[in-house]
């Protein structure tokens, strides 16, 4: 009957499309899968991380111990359910050896169980949720970017020690925003500071900060401490400037608020901002200068802190696999090799904290000043070897 043949043909096509795609598992190829956003609001972050990681691979001629490196991209679209689909595809269809990603913490939490159950080592090049190297830590998950606590806690102590007695907190109303403010609050209050108020703005739905700026101004605090990224960071800085906020108090916060990615849009409005980051372009080391030059010549623009995290992910992979002489079949050994690396990258020295699998790194306190080519981040202080507490992690 005609129907039957149609059904059989359709089944065949269907099954073929979705069956495992790697027919021959080539022993000579090291497969690195990325779970990063290549569409949606965070696209530029996904691209920066990937670009820089590939740059690191290029530096070793794209091979480690004779094995060629193959990068397979998975677009998370910053959607946890899509990311989960892609993660499953990369792990079971493409059979990747190592996963690199994601940018967003909610995606990280979504894929965490699948990654750990499949024993695929995951290197996190951004997502900062404390819990990923806390309660949800695993020996297969190594974070080389930062934990939300790590970036914000040093600011609390530093501001208190530099004349700021009272502060008002402002951040987007989601997990990361709240974690960042909590970290600052802890150390700020410990050093004798006082929090006069906290406001959380609807995440990704706040374009107009005018109502909040009025409250901040009225609080009479010595400083406002914020965390914003993307369009929100641009809008906040510009609007704060238009309301003359910087004239009545110090504008401070987590460093991404005036990331080099956003300064071209913020222009002079960013000047005066004091923040902290794990990387600033003005770090005066050979590694950083070489990196900036290489990135610029290949991609036509200066690297951001996200690019550096991608670059360091690449270097970690190279280090770890080299230490195993290229033999990566044993997943436990691979995971162990990754968490015991020690490298010096553009950020400075990096090691992994064995208790939490989170990176130990320098944190740079900077101020945005007027430079020769426009506003730039000038380092005021370097806090060395900052760790993340990692509560609830038993590694």
């Amino acid at each position: 009957m005609q129907m039957k043949t149609i059904i059989i043909k359709l089944c065949f096509i269907f099954v073929c499309t979705f069956s495992s795609t790697s027919i021959v598992y080539s022993k000579d190829v090291i497969k690195i899968g990325t779970l990063l956003p290549y569409s949606g609001v965070y696209t530029v972050l996904g691209e920066e991380i990937t670009n820089a990681m590939i740059l690191a691979f290029d530096e070793v001629n794209n091979s480690i111990n004779g094995h060629i490196i193959e990068v397979i991209k998975g677009d998370t679209e910053v959607k946890p359910n899509i990311a989960l689909q892609k993660a499953r595809k990369l792990i079971s269809s493409d059979k990747v050896d190592i996963l690199v990603g994601p940018v967003s913490s909610s995606v990280a939490l979504a894929i965490r169980d699948v990654v750990v159950q499949s024993k695929t080592p995951l290197i996190i090049p951004n997502a900062g949720a404390n819990v990923l190297t806390g309660k949800k830590c695993s020996k297969f998950i190594t974070r080389i970017s930062f934990s939300n606590y790590q970036i914000n806690a040093p600011m609390g102590t530093w501001l208190a020690e530099h004349g700021i007695k009272t502060a008002f907190l402002l951040a987007p109303d989601y997990a990361a925003g709240k974690e960042m403010m909590a970290a600052f609050k802890t150390t700020f209050e410990e050093a004798g500071g006082k929090i006069l108020g906290e406001e959380y703005t609807p995440f990704r739905k706040t374009k107009d900060f005018a109502p909040y700026l009025a409250r901040v101004k009225n609080s009479g605090a010595d400083a406002v401490y914020v965390f914003y990224a993307g369009g929100e960071a641009i809008n906040f800085i510009k609007q704060a400037y238009s309301f003359g906020l910087g004239k009545v108090m110090k504008i401070t916060g987590a460093g991404w608020t005036t990331s080099p990615l956003f300064i071209p849009a913020q222009k002079e409005a960013a000047i005066g901002f004091i923040g902290s980051l794990n990387y600033v372009p003005s770090i005066n080391t050979e590694e950083n200068k070489t990196f900036i030059k290489a990135y610029k010549s290949k991609f036509g623009r200066s690297p951001s802190e996200f690019a550096v995290q991608g670059y360091d992910s690449g270097k970690v992979i190279i280090e770890a696999i080299s230490s195993l002489f290229g033999s990566i079949k044993d997943k436990d050994k691979l995971a162990e090799a990754i968490r015991t690396i020690s490298i010096t990258g553009p950020r400075g020295p990096l090691t992994i904290d064995p208790k939490t699998n989170n990176v130990i790194q320098n944190i740079y306190i900077f101020e945005v000043v007027n430079g020769e080519q426009g506003p730039e981040l000038k380092v005021l202080d370097t806090i060395e070897a900052v760790k993340a507490p990692g509560e609830g992690c038993n590694l």
């Binding site: 609001v41 530029v44 374009k207 109502p211 009025a214 809008n235 956003f262």
Partner: protein, 282 residues
């Protein structure tokens, strides 16, 4: 402080008004809700961004962006909506829904996914002192634009022949056609105007709120609520609705941030319960 909050609320209301009035006029005449209205707002901002980047003049962007957006509206009307004018309104609404997807990806393809920024023109960049408090001059400008549009629309609709024809077409299309008022032409111009107003809203507000993909939907929901509450098809309703929602939202954010969102939806729910056709019938 209250004066500042009042002005913030008024500025937000004027932005909503620019959007709501376009949407409500289109609904009044064509009986359809253009779900892609937010997309036109977004496209207006992006076109303005390009004009600004190319000419370095905000004023040129302000003038030409709504014109281009109106042209896009004219194009959509001629090649899409006119042909299904007599079809089920639902079909037309679904069409506009498909346009949202096209608009979003077009913008991403042409301008990328990063957030962009337009600088406020230098004349309006310095704060104005209002009873000791500095207030951004540009926001006052936004309020002015809104009021100008309101005034112009009022004059056109109430005092000119074309306005009379438009009102006739809205109130009683059959009689209007009998009187040989060319309804098709009226629809064409009004649709284009509505789209142009959305584009104007986009470029006017861009120096404050920035330009990024996704800005279409953020504003659409509030605009829909304004139209539902104010009464679809009514110019007065668009104004009162914008003021109501604008003030509730702005003051709510300042004094009861937790409940601000809920209150707006409560307002909509109450309106639906007690005045289902909106506060002002057309």
């Amino acid at each position: 402080m209250i004066l500042i909050q009042f002005l913030n609320a008024l500025q937000f209301s004027m932005t909503l008004f620019l959007l709501a009035v376009g949407l409500t006029i289109i609904f009044g005449l064509m009986k359809i809700v253009n779900l892609a209205h937010g997309s036109l707002y977004m496209i207006g901002a992006y076109i303005g961004l390009s004009i600004f980047n190319y000419t370095e003049s905000f004023w040129l962007a302000l003038i030409f962006s709504p014109i281009f957006t109106a042209l896009i509206g004219a194009f959509l009307y001629t090649f899409l909506f006119r042909h299904i004018q007599n079809a089920d309104p639902m079909k037309q609404v679904l069409l506009t829904f498909g346009l949202i997807y096209i608009g979003l990806d077009s913008v991403r393809l042409l301008w990328g996914t990063m957030s962009h920024s337009i600088s406020t023109p230098s004349i309006l960049s310095n704060p104005v002192l209002l009873i000791d408090e500095p207030y951004p001059a540009y926001r006052l400008f936004v309020i002015t634009v809104g009021l100008l549009v309101l005034f112009s629309l009022y004059v056109i609709l109430e005092k000119t022949k074309i306005g009379a024809k438009v009102r006739a077409s809205v109130d009683d299309p059959e009689t209007a056609q009998l009187l040989q008022i060319n309804t098709d032409k009226i629809l064409f111009y009004t649709f284009a105007l509505g789209c142009g107003l959305a584009g104007l809203a986009g470029i006017t507000v861009a120096p404050i709120l920035g330009v990024e993909p996704g800005m279409d939907m953020e504003v659409l929901v509030l605009t829909l609520i304004v139209v539902v509450v104010g009464g679809p098809g009514s110019l007065k309703g668009a104004l009162i609705g914008s003021l109501l929602i604008g003030f509730v939202d702005s003051f709510g954010k300042v004094y009861i941030p937790q409940l601000a969102q809920i209150i707006i939806y409560a307002v909509m729910a109450l309106t639906l319960l007690f005045k289902p056709d909106g506060l002002y019938k057309r």
